[in-house]
């Protein structure tokens, strides 16, 4: 990815969170059939808004069981056929063969839940995620590992200090960085989640020490960060994927494409 002297390379990502309030804004019932209709309606909206990156929030499909997951498969296929980059916000994490199972689900070409990238949770240690990191490398996929998330309840956990003096969040970034170095992988494939509402200095790390590490940044809109500030929130050596979700989806079917275009303009302003 290229960087500009005026700030980080910024990409807008539309988070697809078909939660009850969003379905209502789209005139749809909070049901499996409502979700199915949402999937059908959102794809042309994303296409017309020239959206390049989409992050489906898996929980909102999983809540409708097998049928909900089938709608996710349909959505992912529609996005793939339009060349839209998909980030499965699955927040999976486990160990050993179990981690391999999740990696197989989300990062294998041709699988029902194939995405271009997936979010992972490092509660059992970054090294436990290795099967997914390896598979991502093999299939030219990406991962984003949760480091410092945007929700305030996370601070006490993610600011805890490890035996090496690093915070948990810092340790995730640092461990991932070392893993990438150790396997001579492409640094661009392995990113972290750092909320736009987070003061990174609180977490004892500086993203400038990890140049090129991709950041997936939630926290814009509803959670308080402003898109037009994005270029000053992150160092210019950090490629940032800035997520908007509710703030565009709640405009409903008629207003969503315009809201995405406005968000895109605000991000590059």
């Amino acid at each position: 990815m290229t960087t500009h002297s005026r700030g980080p390379h910024l990409t807008l990502c539309v988070g697809l969170d078909p939660q009850p309030a969003v379905l209502e804004a789209w005139g749809l019932p909070d049901s499996e059939s409502g979700l199915k209709a949402f999937v059908r309606a959102i794809v042309p909206v994303l296409e017309s808004s020239r959206c390049e990156v989409v992050k489906p929030q898996v929980a909102f499909f999983e809540r409708f069981g097998v049928a909900g997951m089938r709608h996710l498969t349909v959505l992912l296929g529609e996005l793939r056929s339009r060349g839209i980059f998909t980030i499965g916000d699955a927040k999976r994490g486990d160990i050993d063969s179990t981690m391999s199972g999740y990696a197989q689900a989300w990062l294998t070409p041709g699988s029902d839940f194939e995405t271009d990238a997936v979010t992972l949770v490092p509660y059992q240690g970054l090294r436990a995620l290795e099967p997914a990191l390896t598979l991502a490398g093999e299939h030219d996929k990406k991962v984003f590992v949760l480091a410092a998330t945007s929700n305030p309840q996370a601070r006490q956990t993610q600011m805890a200090i490890r035996s090496d003096g690093r915070t948990i969040a810092h340790g995730v970034v640092d461990d991932l960085w070392r893993w990438v170095e150790g396997c001579s992988a492409s640094a661009g494939a392995y990113g972290v989640v750092v909320g736009a509402t987070v003061a990174v200095s609180d977490y004892t790390f500086d993203l400038r020490d990890y140049p090129g590490i991709p950041v997936l940044a939630p926290g814009f809109g509803h959670q308080g960060a402003v898109l037009s500030d994005a270029h000053s929130l992150f160092p210019e050596t950090t490629p940032v994927t800035a997520v908007v979700a509710r703030s565009v989806l709640l405009h409903g079917e008629a207003g969503c494409a315009g809201a995405i275009e406005a968000a895109s303009a605000e991000l590059s302003s």
Copy 2:
């Protein structure tokens, strides 16, 4: 749950991990049809071994996409109709409405993925899990929140020290305990995952300070802990659900029921 003076109340749980090696041991291909056949074959085995608690490992169903998740639904239904308690080892975790989505998926009566209990991951803070804790209480379900897991890569993370001087693992147990007190919920519904291989004292906490908090304990068998030691690994005020998975499943269809019965005898020896 009752406690005995000779040690903690112990319950055996069979972990269903249909990973490639397990399917092979059952003479089945590592495919969606192999998984389907495994689900059909395992249910009578569990029934004949008088198994009371089963923990399906969700990743091994999810890896086969929509069809895999349908097989999980079938399995859960078969177990439910036999009165077998199910723990969905889903390790889900998120915030706000997203967490509500996962809770809806796993803890709602009548849903495809309805289980009696689900495992949750507190990387974004125990408080972020509140929608699931609340829903579990409403539907008489249980949760097990990851505290100190059995894998060695987890130690650096879970032993990190929070601002209140507690380790991450300790903080999870303590936060959950306080949450239960705060909402006057039934303590028995809210448990933690503490690996049988873990020296709890390393994590600055003592389960005796949290009497009655249920513990789901992986780490037996393959990972090194011995079932007959279980009564000395945990305090007598702690109800323990001890998990065996590969060590019984790898006996194949012919030997699995016997291996479960042997494990049950070993646990109560």
